[in-house]
Amino acid sequence: MAAPKKGRGPSGGQGRPGRALVIILIAMVALAGGMFLSGHTTPRLGIDLAGGTSITLKAKNQPGKPNAINPTNMDTAVGIIERRVNGLGVSEAEVQTQGSDNIIVNIPKGTNSEQAREQVGTTAQLYFRPVLTVAASGPEQPAPSGSPTPSGSATPKPGESATSDDKDKDKGEEATGEEATPSPSATTQGRAVSEGLKKAPTPTPTNSAEPKPSDSPEASPSADPATAKLQEEFTKLNCADPEQRAAAGKDALPTDSIVACGSNVPGSYEKYILGPAEVSGGDVDDAQGAIDQQTGEWIVSMEFSSAGAKKFQTITSRLSQQQPPMNQFAIVLDGEVVSAPSVRTALSKNAQISGSFDQQSAEDLGNILSYGALPLTFEEVSVTTVTAALGSEQLKGGLIAGGIGLALVVIYLVAYYRGLAFIALLSLLVSGILTYTIMSLLGPAIGFALNLPAVCGAIVAIGITADSFIVYFERVRDEIREGRTLRPAIERAWPRARRTILVSDFVSFLAAAVLFLVTVGKVQGFAFTLGLTTLLDVVVVFFFTKPLMTLMGRTKFFSQGGSWSGLDPKRLGAQPPLRRSRRVSASTEPKEA
C-alpha cells in the first residue's frame, strides 16, 4: 500500500495518545510504588496455595428461632471464633463471614490444625467448676486483697455486696449491683431452685474445705506443690491485663484446677481458683433466658441431660453444704468465668439461675450454656487441609499452566498478527502488571487472598484480554481491506471495536459480578479475579492499546505495511489500489470518532 498522506496529519478522533499512555504509566508506577511501600510485593496466598487449614462453618437453623441467623449474630460468632483461634497463638488466622450464613476460618500452616479445628468446630468449651477461691482483680486493685486460701474466708469484694436482691448471687453478664464477688456475709445465695431435689439449703458455716478430697485437692491448705503453684499463680494474676486474662485458664485440662478471670461489670474483674470441671457444657441439653413466672424477673433456666443431671446433682448437693465462696460453681467458658452462682440446694435435671439479670444478659447466658459462646450453632461443612508441599505444588502448577497458556497465546498472536502482536503483547504485559499489583495491594486492603480458582480466573482472563485486541485488530484489518491507509483505518476501526469490546466485556463482567454476589466458597474467588481482569481489560484497551496503536500507526514499519507488520494490505487482500488515490483523502476523516 502506498504511503499515507503525510499532509493530512492526525485528524480528530485520534485523541492524544501520548496523554493516555502517560496516564496509564503513572497508574502503573503509583500502584507498583504503593505495593513496594506497603511491603506487600506478592499477593497474599490462599490456604490452598500456601498450605494450612480452611474450615467452613454453616450456621444451622434452630427450631423456634427463625431469625437467629442475622448479621449481628454472625458477627458475634466471628468475633468469638476469632478469639478462640487466636487464643491458640495463631496470629494470622482469619475468620470471616461469607454469604449470609457461612463463616470461613483460615488457619495458615504451622499451627496445630487439629486443635484449631476443635476450638472452632465445637461450640461448647463450657465447664462447670467448683469455686475454691475468689478475689477481686480489677484495675484499681490489681493485687488480690483477699486471702487466697480456700478456706472459708471469702475475699472482700470490691463493690457492694449482697443485696441486689435476696438472691443476688449469680453473676450474670450484667450486674445491677455489680456484686462482683460473693460476699461472705449475708448473701442468700443465688437461689438455684429446682423442681428436682429440694434439699434444705443449709449453708453450713463450717467450711470443711474438702467435701471430696480427690476432687479438690487444692482446697486443702496443705503444701501440695500443685496447690502452691496455683496459689502463686493466683496471687500474680492480674485480670485487668488483657493478656493475662486471656491466658488464664486457657490450656487447662478439665481435670485440672485452674485460675481464671471473670467480669461482672465492664472494667472490673474477679479472679478465681477453680476446681476440676465436674459438669461440661455438653451435659446441658438446653438453656434459655426466661421470665420467672412467680417473681417476674429474668432468669436462666437450664436443662441437663440425664448424665449431666446426675453430675449436677452431685456437685450441687455438695456445694450447697459449703460456705461462701465455696458454695459457688463457676460457669467457665473458654477459660473465662461467665457466671458463678452459688448453690443453696442440690439440683438435678432442671435448674434455674436467678439474680440480677435483664433480658439481654439472661438470654446471653442461656446461649452460652446452650451453645458455648456462639449465638448460633454451627455445622462444620467443609474442612480442607493442605500441606505446604501440596500448596506450593499447586501454585507451581498454576503458574506453569499460566505460562503455557500465555506462551500459546503469544505464539498464536505473533503467527497471525505479526507486528501487531507486539502491541498485543505489550498490552498483555501492562494488563499483567496492573493485575499483579492490584492483587498484591488488595491482600492487605480487603483481605483478598489468591487461591487456586483465582489463579484459574487470571489464566482464563488472558483469553478475554487478548480477545479485545483481536476484535480491534480485525476491525483495523477490515478497514484496510476496504482500501484505507493505516492511520484512518486505525481511527475508523476504533469506535466500532470499542462498542463491541464494551458490550462483550460488560457481559463478562456481569457474569463475574453475579457469581461473586450470589455464590460462596471457591466460586467466589474465581469470580473476583475474572471481574477484576475484565475491568482492567477495558482500562488497558482504552488507555494503552488504542493510543499505542495510534502511535504505532505513525511509524514507518506499520504504516508502510511491511509483510511483518501484520497490516500488509496485499496479504490482507485489500482492494486493488486503483481507487487508492481517490479514496485516501475522503477517508482520512473518520465519520465517527
Partner: protein, 369 residues
C-alpha cells in the same frame, strides 16, 4: 498465515462463505439431537457428583505411601465403612476418596490412614465436606445462573433487541446443556471446579455471540430502505464476516484453557485446575459453535417473522424474479452474491452492507459506522 489472512479477506468480502442461514435447519437438527442426547444422558446416567456435593472426604498424600494402592483401598474402606476410591497421582502420592463420611469421622480415618500409610498426619491433605455444603454450593450456583440469565437477557434486549436476547439465551442454554451432557456421558466427576467452569461459559458463550450480533446490528441498519438483501442474507453475511474473529477469539480463549488442562490433567493429576479447564474446554467449543450456527440463524428466523421483514423479502424476491425474467443476472443467495453489485442504488446498498461494499468507480459511501 497469509493464506489465512486472505481467507479472512475473502470471507470479509463475501467471496467465499458458508450459507449458515440456509442450512440452519440442518444445524438446528444437529443441536436438537445433541441436546436430547445430553438430556437423556443426564436423566438416565445422571451426573457423577464429586464428594464436594455428596459429602465425604478426600485425602491426598504428597509422598509415596509404604503400601500399595490396593492395600490403601482396603485400609480406607475398612476404616470408613464406606467405599473408598484410591488413585495414584503423578507425583507418586495417593488420592483416597471416601464418600458419605461425616467430618468428625473423617478425622479418625485420617489417623488410621496416617498409621497404615506410614505418613505423618500433618502430611496428609484432607478435604472434608459435609453434604449440606455441596448442596449449598449447587443451589447458589443455580441461583447465580438464573440471576445472570435474567440480567443478560434484559441487557441484550436493551443493547440490541429482544429477538437477539432470546436467541442468545437459547444458545446459552444449549451450551450448558451440552456441557452437562458431556459430563453425564463421559462420567467426569462434577466438582465445584466444574461448576466454576460451567459458570464461566456463561460469559464466554455470550462474548462470542455478542461479537456476531454486533456485526449483525450494524448490518441491519436501514435494512428496510434497500431492496437487495433479505434479513437472512444480511445475517449470513454478518456471520461470515466475523468468522475469522470468532475463530480467533475462540482459539485464543481455548489456548490458556488448554494450558490449564495440560497442567491440571497431565502433571498435577486430578484437581481444581483440571476440573475447571475441562468444563471450560467443552463449554467454549460448544459456545463457539452455538453463536455461529444457532444464535444468529435464530435471530434471522425470528426477524423474518416480522411483517416488515416479510414485506421486504417479498419485494426482494419479486425484484429478483423480475430481473431474472429480464435475463439479467440477479445475485444469487450464495455467498458470492455481492460481487456483482453496484448497478443501482449503490447509496442505500452501501449503507446496508457497507463493510463489504466494493465500490467501483464512484460514490463510495462510508460503509462503517
Amino acid at each position: 498465515m497469509s493464506r489465512l489472512g486472505n481467507l479472512g479477506a475473502r470471507l470479509y468480502r463475501g467471496e467465499v462463505g458458508y450459507d449458515f442461514i440456509r442450512n440452519r435447519k440442518i444445524w438446528y437438527g444437529v443441536s436438537i439431537l445433541i441436546t436430547i442426547t445430553a438430556i437423556v444422558a443426564v436423566a438416565v446416567g445422571g451426573l457423577n457428583m464429586g464428594i464436594e456435593f455428596k459429602g465425604g472426604a478426600v485425602f491426598t498424600t504428597d509422598t509415596k505411601a509404604k503400601i500399595s494402592t490396593a492395600q490403601a483401598t482396603d485400609v480406607a474402606t475398612e476404616a470408613s465403612g464406606h467405599m473408598a476410591i484410591v488413585q495414584e497421582l503423578g507425583n507418586g502420592g495417593l488420592r483416597i476418596q471416601i464418600t458419605e463420611v461425616g467430618t468428625a469421622k473423617a478425622n479418625e480415618i485420617k489417623e488410621t490412614l496416617s498409621d497404615e500409610l506410614g505418613i505423618p498426619a500433618e502430611e496428609i491433605n484432607a478435604d472434608l465436606v459435609g453434604p449440606s455444603w455441596g448442596e449449598q454450593i449447587a443451589n447458589k450456583a443455580w441461583t447465580g445462573l438464573g440471576v445472570f440469565m435474567v440480567l443478560v437477557v434484559v441487557y441484550l434486549a436493551i443493547a440490541f433487541e429482544w429477538r437477539m436476547a432470546v436467541a442468545a439465551l437459547i444458545a446459552l442454554i444449549h451450551d450448558i446443556t451440552i456441557t452437562v451432557g458431556v459430563y453425564a456421558l463421559v462420567g467426569f466427576e462434577v466438582t465445584p471446579g466444574t461448576v466454576i467452569g460451567l459458570l464461566t461459559i456463561l460469559g464466554y458463550s455470550l462474548y462470542d455471540t455478542v461479537v456476531v450480533f454486533d456485526s449483525l446490528k450494524e448490518g441491519q441498519k436501514d435494512i428496510t430502505k434497500q431492496t437487495r438483501y433479505t434479513y437472512s442474507e444480511i445475517a449470513n453475511r454478518s456471520i461470515n464476516s466475523t468468522l475469522v474473529r470468532s475463530i480467533n477469539t475462540t482459539v485464543v480463549a481455548l489456548l490458556p484453557v488448554a494450558g490449564l488442562l495440560f497442567i491440571g490433567g497431565g502433571v498435577l493429576g486430578a484437581g481444581m485446575l483440571n476440573d475447571i479447564s475441562l468444563s471450560l474446554f467443552v463449554g467454549l467449543a460448544a459456545g463457539a459453535y452455538s453463536s455461529i450456527f444457532i444464535a444468529t440463524p435464530l435471530v434471522a428466523d425470528l426477524k423474518e417473522r416480522e411483517p416488515q421483514m416479510k414485506a421486504l423479502k417479498k419485494r426482494i424476491l419479486a425484484k429478483r424474479a423480475a430481473a431474472a425474467a429480464r435475463g439479467e443476472s440477479p445475485e444469487d443467495d450464495g455467498p458470492g452474491y455481492r460481487n456483482d453489485t453496484v448497478t443501482e442504488d449503490a447509496e442505500t446498498a452501501g449503507a446496508v452492507v457497507g463493510q463489504r461494499q466494493q465500490p467501483r468507480g464512484h460514490g463510495r459511501t462510508p460503509g462503517k459506522r
